[in-house]
Each structure stands twice: as C-alpha cells, then as structure tokens.
C-alpha cells in the first residue's frame, strides 16, 4: 500500500500505543481525518491483515449507548507500520556515507 499522508497519520496514531484500541471517531480526531478518508483506509488495512477489529462487549458500553467497533494494529501491522514510517524519514546515513555523497572541494557540481 502506498504510504499517503492520511495513512501515515493513522499509522502514527496506532503506533503511539500499539496495544491501544481505537474506535472510528477517536481515530478521526487523533489523525485529523474525515470519515470519508478513514473508513476506506481502515478497510484496506484490515484486508491486508495489518489491522484487526472487534466489537465492544454489550456490557462494556456505558450509559446505554450502542457498542462500538474497535480497531487495533496486529503484530504484523505494527512491524510494517514501523518500517513504513522509518522509510519516510529516509535511512540514517553514517558520517562516512554523508562525506562520500558530498562533492569534493573544487569540483563542479
């Protein structure tokens, strides 16, 4: 899956606490995404096995509100998300690699 801005934001929210479960509106607020962007994204992540979802038990839903569906990163999803997000900032270069990439003094660029 291509790492788009919305996907990056959703993955960052998930990775902030890998064990945390999020419901849709919670994710929308945390990632700053609209519902029309979030749900297709979650659907694709779920289809690829990177995110799993489960329904809140009826007894846990306080105040008579309907039970929510919670999303959580799978182990594979957490690993893939970390790799993808690390790739965004680019691989860390060693000092020697940076020096090799720099043009030598006096050479034309």
């Amino acid at each position: 899956m291509k790492l788009t801005g919305p996907l990056r934001r959703v993955l960052q929210v998930f990775l902030a606490d890998v064990s945390a479960r999020h419901y849709g509106y919670d994710l929308m607020k945390a990632a700053g995404l609209a519902s029309g962007t979030l749900y297709p994204l979650l659907g694709r992540l779920q289809e690829q096995g990177l995110v799993t979802s489960e329904w809140e038990p009826q007894s846990a839903s306080a105040g008579g509100r309907p039970p929510r569906r919670y999303y959580q990163l799978t182990g594979e999803g957490a690993r893939a998300a970390r790799l993808e997000l690390a790739g965004v900032t680019g691989p860390a270069r060693t000092r020697g690699e940076r020096r090799a990439a720099r043009p030598a003094p006096g050479t034309a660029r």
Partner: protein, 158 residues
C-alpha cells in the same frame, strides 16, 4: 425535537442510504458501526457549541455516504445495491435540471418582490449564475446519458 436529536436522525438516514450501496451481508454490521459513533460525536466535549456538534455529526455521515463505494467490501457489489435496473430508467441530469428551474423561479420571485432594487440586487446578480451553471451540468449529464450504451442500468444510486 432538539437539534441534537434531529441531527442524529438525519445522520442515521444518510448512513442507512450509504449502507444500501454495500453487499447485503455487511450492511447491518457497517450501519451498527457507523451509527454507534454518532453519540460520541454529538456528545463530544471538545466541541463546545451544540450546533457545531450536530454539524460534525452530519459531516461524518456525509463523508461515510460519499466514500462507501471505496470500501473493500463494496468492490464486488452492484452500485445500485439489490435493486433491479428500472424498466424506465431515470435519465442523468434530471436533478440539476430541476434545481436550475427551481433556482430560476426563486430568482424571478425575488426580483418581483423587490422591483425597485434594494440590498438584494447585487446578490441577485451573482445568483444569476447559479441556474446557468446547473443547466449546463444538467445538459452535459443528459447528453452523456444518451450516449451511454448501457442506458438501462443506472450509473449511481443517487
């Protein structure tokens, strides 16, 4: 009825419409999921004004409505749900056409109501473009519909 209750009902209506685009097997589950988010939005303590919360709930439902077809489970479903294609299909462009006529009528009535000008006239001048644009959209969509070989199948449920 409070604005919160009205907003919830309107949002639930939109969600039900959105779910009609999904395969029958997933509709109920998706509706339950999306409708369960509405109380959280309508009671969101981070949004101070009740009207803003209602607007947020409606925006949420509208976003879901717009994006239902992009859900993975919607990929294999027929865009018009379980309905059979209509025998006399509605041509595309009817809604913008009706909107163009309605906005023309509104403009004419407003112009008759303020025959000697007034603060509304500059606004009216700008509003004159609205029916024109709608009429152009209606004509384009109708021509496309005429050219489409599979005219019997509706292209969209809306």
């Amino acid at each position: 009825m409070t604005s919160r209750a009205s907003a919830q009902r309107a949002a639930e209506y939109l969600l039900r419409r959105a779910c009609r685009r999904l395969p029958a097997g997933t509709r109920d589950e998706r509706y339950a999921e999306w409708a369960a988010e509405l109380p959280a939005i309508l009671h969101d303590p981070d949004i101070r004004h009740p009207f803003a919360r209602s607007a947020r709930a409606l925006r949420y439902a509208a976003g879901v409505y717009r994006s239902t077809r992009r859900l993975p489970e919607a990929a294999g479903s027929r865009p018009w749900g379980d309905r059979q294609p209509a025998i006399f299909p509605r041509p595309d462009g009817v809604l913008p056409g009706l909107a163009a006529v309605a906005s023309w009528i509104c403009l004419v009535l407003t112009a008759r109501y303020f025959p000697h000008g007034g603060p509304w006239w500059p606004l009216l001048a700008v509003a004159l473009f609205v029916p024109d644009v709608l009429a152009v959209i209606a004509i384009i969509r109708f021509v496309r519909w005429l050219r489409r070989p599979s005219r019997g199948s509706p292209s969209s449920p809306g």
